[in-house]
C-alpha cells in the first residue's frame, strides 16, 4: 500500500508561536502591536508579499520537498479552501489539492461542476475533505444544524454528485437535494470524481464513511485504538462492497534529537502560558493553559494533546526525533493508515524540515517494511 503525505496550508494565519493569537504572518490574528505582521492582505507594497503569495510559497515548498498534496483546512476566519485551491492550482505542477468544506452549504450539482472544471484544469489533482462541525450560538454562519443533520445532507450531496458524474441522465429526489435528468455533456466527461475524504466518530459519521468515503480520517490515538477503528470501519464498508483507506492529521514537532523536540515544544508552550490569553475549548481551564499542564497533555510515547487548545485543527500531535516520529508513522502505516496530513508552524520552514528530514526516513522504512511483508 503506497502512502501519501499532505502538508497543511495555514489558511488562517501562521507564525512561530504555538498560539494562534500570537501569529505574525497573515492578518488573521487580533492586532499585534509589539512587532510587524508579515504578508498582510491589506498592505500591498510594490513587489511585496500578501497572504496569498505566502500560501503559494508554502504550496511550492510542499511540492519541492516531496509532499503529494496540500490539505487546506476549513476555519471560521480562514481563507475559503476552494478559492485557495483554484488560486494556487496553476502554480504547482503535481501537487494534489484537498480543500475542506461543509458540503451542506453547496449545491451538489454546482459543487460537481466546480470539481469537474478543477479536474480539467489540473489533470485530476482535486480531492474533497467534506467536514461537519458543531454548530453553536457563536458559529459565524448563523446556522444551527445538528451533526446528524449535516451528515444526512452530506449523504444526499454525495449521492447526487456521484450519480450526476457517473450515471447520466441522473434523477434524484431526496429530502435536501433533487435533480432531474442531470449529467455532464459528453465533451466534459472523462475526468475522475475527486476522492472523498471524510471523518467523524459518531454512528452516523461512520455509516456515511462506509457508504461514501474513499479515505476516512481517524483521530490520532493509540495504535490499539487505531487498529480497532480500522477493523470496525473496514467491516462497515464491506457491507457496501467497498474498501476504505485511512488517514491521520497531525502536528509534528520533529528535531534531530528527541530532547531538542520536547524542549522546543516546552519552551514555546511556556511562552504561550505566560501570555495568559484565554483559550477557547480548554476543558476546565477558562484562564488558558498553565505551565503545569504540559506534562498532563502527554498522551503516550511521542503524542502530545496540547495543540488543539491553542490553534484550530487536530488536537493531538507527534513529538520526537526524526527517527522516533518516522517509527510512529511507520507503526500507524502498518496498522493500516495510508494518508498522513502533517502540519507544523511556521509552515514554510517546517515544510522544508519535514519534507527533507522526515519524509525520506519514513519512505525508506515503509518501503523496507512493505518489502519484508510481501
Amino acid at each position: 500500500m503506497s502512502i501519501e503525505f499532505f502538508w497543511q496550508l495555514p489558511a488562517s494565519g501562521d507564525g512561530r508561536s504555538l498560539h494562534k493569537d500570537q501569529w505574525t504572518r497573515g492578518d488573521h490574528t487580533p492586532p499585534i502591536t509589539d512587532r510587524p505582521v508579515f504578508a498582510r492582505i491589506d498592505v500591498r507594497r510594490d513587489g511585496g508579499h500578501t497572504w496569498y503569495d505566502h500560501l503559494a510559497q508554502i504550496a511550492r515548498a510542499a511540492e519541492i520537498t516531496g509532499f503529494d498534496g496540500v490539505l487546506i483546512p476549513q476555519t471560521p476566519a480562514g481563507e475559503e479552501p476552494i478559492i485557495v485551491s483554484g488560486a494556487l492550482a496553476r502554480e504547482a505542477r503535481r501537487l494534489k489539492f484537498l480543500p475542506a468544506f461543509p458540503a451542506p452549504f453547496l449545491s451538489a450539482v454546482y459543487a460537481a461542476k466546480i470539481a469537474l472544471s478543477f479536474q480539467r484544469l489540473t489533470g485530476g489533482r482535486l480531492a474533497w475533505n467534506l467536514i461537519t462541525e458543531e454548530h453553536t450560538e457563536k458559529s459565524w454562519h448563523g446556522h444551527r444544524w445538528s451533526i446528524a443533520e449535516q451528515i444526512a445532507r452530506t449523504d444526499e450531496f454525495l449521492d447526487v454528485v456521484k450519480g450526476f458524474w457517473n450515471n447520466p441522465p441522473f434523477t434524484y429526489q431526496g429530502k435536501y437535494y433533487e435533480v432531474v435528468d442531470g449529467g455532464f455533456a459528453p465533451a466534459l466527461t472523462g475526468p475522475v470524481l475527486p476522492l472523498i475524504y471524510l471523518s467523524g466518530e459518531t454512528e452516523e459519521a461512520l455509516a456515511l464513511s462506509a457508504k461514501h468515503a474513499d479515505v476516512h480520517f481517524l483521530p490520532l490515538d493509540s495504535l490499539e485504538a487505531t487498529r480497532g477503528r480500522i477493523e470496525d470501519l473496514t467491516r462497515r464498508a464491506a457491507v457496501f462492497g467497498r474498501t476504505l483507506r485511512f488517514g491521520l492529521q497531525a502536528d509534528v514537532v520533529a528535531r534531530h534529537d528527541s530532547a531538542d523536540a520536547w524542549q522546543d515544544l516546552r519552551t514555546r508552550w511556556d511562552r504561550v502560558a505566560a501570555k495568559t490569553v484565554p483559550i477557547s475549548g480548554a476543558p476546565g481551564n477558562s484562564q488558558g493553559p498553565s505551565k503545569e499542564d504540559f506534562d498532563a497533555l502527554i498522551q503516550g510515547p511521542n503524542l502530545w494533546a496540547g495543540f488543539g487548545l491553542v490553534r484550530p485543527g487536530a488536537p493531538v500531535g507527534i513529538v520526537g526525533s526524526y527517527q522516533e516520529v518516522a517509527e510512529r508513522i511507520k507503526a500507524y502505516a502498518e496498522a493500516g493508515v495510508s494518508t498522513f496530513a502533517l502540519s507544523a508552524n511556521p509552515h514554510l520552514e517546517e515544510a522544508y524540515r519535514i519534507g527533507e528530514q522526515l519524509l525520506p526516513l519514513i519512505k525508506s522504512q515503509t518501503t523496507a517494511a512493505a518489502g519484508q511483508a510481501s
Binding site: 488573521h28 449545491s107 461542476k113 455533456a185
Partner: protein
C-alpha cells in the same frame, strides 16, 4: 465611470469565427491542426484550456478593459475556478462571476467571495442570474417557480450584504433563516462586489431595484432599450436607488468597414444551415421573458440583417448572447458605443471570436477612441 468588460469564452473558442466548430478547447470534434490549447490533461509542460482562458484575461487586461465577464453554462468551465486563477495571474483586471443564488448557501458564498476579494485586492463583481426555469433549472437541481426564484435572489443578497461586514445579522426569510451570523475578521469588510443583474420580468426588475448596481441587457433595438431603461429607473427609484444600464453585445471591428464586413461575409458563407435548423428544433425552452430574436433563414443575406448601424446575424454565426451586435470600423464602433453612452449605458460587456485576438482590436483601437469622447467624459459617474 463607464465600465468595459471583455467576455471570457468559457465554453470553448474558435480560432476563426468562420469555423463551424470550436477549435480551441475540447468542445468540438478532435481534428488535425488543433492548437495546443485543446489539451486538457494538465500534465507538466502541456496546456489545458484554462491556460488559454488566462491568456484571454491577460489580453483584456493589457489591451485596456476594466474587467472580464466569466459566464456560466451547464456545459462550460466553472467561473469560480477560472476567477480564482485569474485573480492570481492578472494584476488589475476585474472579473465578473456569473452566479445563480441556488448554487451556494449565502454564507458560503460570502466566505468564498471575501476570499476572492482578499486574493485579488477587491476585483470581484457578480453577474447575478436568477435562472431560466424549465428543464435546465431542474438539471441544476433547482425546482423553484419563476417569481419565487426572484424572491430567493433578493433574500440571498439580503443575507450576503447582511453578513458581509461582520454582523451579527439574523434573518427569517422564506428561503434562508440564520441567527447571529457574520463574516469573521479578517474576511469581513472587504469591498462588496458590484452586482450586474439580468432579467426583464416585473419580478426580476423588482428584485434588482433593491440590490443591483447595473441592469444588464442583451443588445436590442434602441427603442426597446429605452423602454427597458425607463422601467429599470422607475422601479429602482421606488427603492430610492439608482440602477445603471449595461448592455452586452458581440463586436467585430477593423481599420476599415470593408475589412470588418469581409470577416462576416466569409463566416456567413460557412454557416451549416441544415445543422442550424436541426439545432433550433431541439432547443430547450425556459420560462424567462424578454428574449428578442430576428428570424434568419438560409435565404437571408448578410446585408438583410443591418439596421440602426448594427447587425443581427451573430447568433447565426454561433455566437452566444444577442444576435444583434456591431460590425464596422474602429471609428464606427466608437461612435456606436458613444451613442449607447448617450442613451445612459454605463457598463459594456463586449465579446467576439477569437476572444484573444479580438480583445486587442477592441481594447487597443476602439476603447481609446471611446474614452476620448465627450460623452464618455461627461457621463454620469
Amino acid at each position: 465611470m463607464t465600465q468595459f468588460h471583455w467576455r471570457i469564452p468559457i465554453h470553448g473558442c474558435k480560432g476563426d469565427i468562420a469555423s463551424p466548430v470550436y477549435t480551441r478547447g475540447t468542445w468540438g470534434p478532435v481534428s488535425a491542426g488543433k492548437p495546443a490549447a485543446t489539451l486538457t490533461d494538465g500534465e507538466e509542460g502541456r496546456f489545458p484550456y484554462h491556460d488559454y482562458l488566462l491568456e484571454v484575461a491577460k489580453a483584456a487586461e493589457i489591451s485596456g478593459f476594466d474587467g472580464a465577464l466569466i459566464p456560466s453554462f451547464p456545459d462550460s468551465e466553472d467561473p469560480w475556478v477560472i476567477a480564482s486563477a485569474i485573480a492570481r495571474h492578472t494584476k488589475t483586471l476585474r472579473f465578473m462571476i456569473a452566479y445563480q443564488p441556488c448554487w451556494f448557501n449565502p454564507l458560503y458564498a460570502a466566505k468564498a467571495a471575501a476570499s476572492l476579494q482578499r486574493v485579488s485586492g477587491g476585483r470581484l463583481l457578480f453577474n447575478i442570474i436568477t435562472g431560466g426555469g424549465g428543464p435546465q433549472q431542474l438539471w441544476w437541481g433547482d425546482r423553484i417557480a419563476h417569481d419565487d426564484r426572484y424572491t430567493r435572489t433578493t433574500e440571498f443578497l439580503d443575507v450576503l450584504k447582511g453578513v458581509w461586514n461582520g454582523g451579527p445579522f439574523s434573518y427569517q426569510g422564506k428561503f434562508f433563516q440564520i441567527e447571529d451570523a457574520g463574516l469573521p475578521e479578517p474576511l469581513a469588510g472587504q469591498v462588496f462586489p458590484e452586482l450586474y443583474f439580468v432579467g426583464s420580468s416585473d419580478a426580476a426588475l423588482a428584485a434588482q431595484g433593491k440590490h443591483a448596481d447595473y441592469d444588464l441587457t442583451h443588445l436590442e433595438p434602441r427603442e426597446n432599450l429605452k423602454i427597458k431603461f425607463a422601467r429599470v429607473a422607475e422601479l429602482a427609484s421606488k427603492d430610492g436607488r439608482t440602477v445603471k444600464p449595461a448592455v452586452r453585445f458581440n463586436i467585430i471591428a477593423r481599420q476599415t468597414p470593408e475589412e470588418a464586413w469581409d470577416v462576416v461575409r466569409r463566416a456567413w458563407a460557412q454557416v451549416d444551415w441544415d445543422a442550424r435548423e436541426r439545432a433550433q428544433r431541439g432547443q430547450r425552452r425556459g420560462d424567462g421573458v424578454g428574449s428578442w430574436r430576428t428570424d434568419v433563414t438560409r435565404h437571408t443575406k448578410v446585408e438583410d440583417l443591418v439596421f440602426e448601424g448594427l447587425w443581427a446575424g451573430f447568433g447565426t454565426l454561433g455566437s452566444q448572447g444577442s444576435p444583434l451586435g456591431f460590425v464596422g470600423s474602429y471609428e464606427q464602433a466608437a461612435e456606436t458605443i458613444d451613442s449607447f453612452i448617450q442613451l445612459g449605458v454605463q457598463g459594456f460587456i463586449l465579446s467576439s471570436t477569437p476572444a484573444l485576438e479580438e480583445a486587442f482590436h477592441v481594447g487597443e483601437e476602439v476603447l481609446p477612441l471611446v474614452r476620448g469622447s465627450t460623452s464618455f467624459k461627461t457621463a454620469v459617474r
